[in-house]
Symmetry: C2
Subunit: 232 residues, 2 copies
């Protein structure tokens, strides 16, 4: 197995500041696996033996209960996931499946915990990352408890537009039926919600979205830094 992914992992804020020897130690015990699309890599309730890093492809975290399913987040390269379960040595709260063919690096959880104790910089980075994850879920919680589905979609589109460079037109990064579950609604209602947003200058053609006048949409969506700004 090639070591070509080391620099990419090293560049992650989680690993960028730690001592070389500790980074090397982690990389030596980790390995890379390639998964085909639509494979459930992690099932909620299982014990967390590895910290996962998405090197290429895409992974989604989802949860099920009583026959229902919802999507919690989509993870794209290069990022880690299930850090909290790894740290706490507790069962996964979310399942994960590949959306596309994906390369995943796996670092044994016990080694992550060991290096945490030995490397202060790494410990600092883990805490920052965890705090970031925590704040992201709090924002998601505010989004769903304070907004209607139409408002959630409008704000999602505004975030996505910004993320994709700020131009009027951009492509949805995931299928609509998945976006619906991510936003806490059904695919049918997502369809209707897109139509309802035409009144605010939003047009859709397949995965392509066009926002005629951002300010017009913002007047309806009322985006807030404390919900929609994923960088803080």
């Amino acid at each position: 197995m090639t070591e070509s992914y080391y620099p990419d992992v090293r560049a992650l804020h989680l690993f960028s500041e730690m001592a070389d020897e500790h980074f090397e130690a982690l990389m030596r015990v980790s390995y890379v696996q390639t998964f085909p699309p639509q494979i459930e890599m992690i099932t909620e309730g299982d014990s967390s033996d590895f910290l996962h890093i998405v090197l290429s492809g895409a992974v989604e975290q989802f949860c099920t209960w009583n026959g229902r399913e919802t999507i919690m987040s989509t993870i794209r390269p290069i990022s880690t996931f299930i850090l909290a379960a790894t740290i706490k040595d507790a069962p996964y709260l979310m399942s994960a499946r590949t959306l596309e063919k994906s390369r995943i690096a796996l670092i044994p959880s016990q080694d992550v915990r060991a290096v945490f104790d030995a490397d202060g910089q790494f410990a600092r980075a883990i805490v920052t990352e965890l705090a970031q994850c925590y704040r992201s879920v709090v924002k998601a919680q505010k989004d769903i408890k304070l907004r209607t589905s139409l408002e959630r979609l409008a704000n999602y589109l505004l975030r996505q537009q910004r993320y994709s460079g700020g131009g009027q037109g951009f492509d949805l990064p995931i299928e609509k039926r998945r976006l619906a579950l991510l936003l806490g609604m059904t695919p049918e209602n997502l369809s209707r919600a897109f139509k309802a947003l035409q009144a605010y200058g939003v047009t859709v053609d397949g995965a392509g979205v066009h926002i005629r006048d951002r300010e017009d949409l913002e007047r309806f969506a009322k985006p807030s830094a404390l919900i929609d700004d994923y960088s803080s």
Copy 2:
């Protein structure tokens, strides 16, 4: 100001393992303040200058957007809050108000961060605490995205029953109008939901709740360790 609260704070998992000198250093720069009921101590968006610890009384975290309000959690002694904002040195995502007259200890955020770098045990404890907080929000998110309001109430009652000793009767720890917002519904619908749960042996008189047959209610509520077990 008395130092009588030191042992209580020291007993928190967050502070129990750290070196004496570091604990003393934190306590020296911290102070205690007593707030009357219904005081907004923290407003979302403000910068996070202190880590807060509820010594007595009760505090609730809530969020607002576009004229709407929701409650995120209730914090009772002895526990910390807004740890993530303190660590990241980022704005608060949630506001906080006292429910009763409360004594709050305040530790300057910069000192928390400094001791974090100096004390590995403390760093470890912070990470564990943060991971716990993260997992709690994920569970809350699953609760609200996968369940109807009636199911959320049923599971809340089962959790509360267990928490209060497991007997058939127990008292709601917060007002019903607050419970409604915590569960993501209106007070009116909470009232109706209680009535609907009569069909499963739940009776309510004021703050008192009686569950005739736990198993009967569980058949409807379908509690899951991955949503309702707050200890893992």
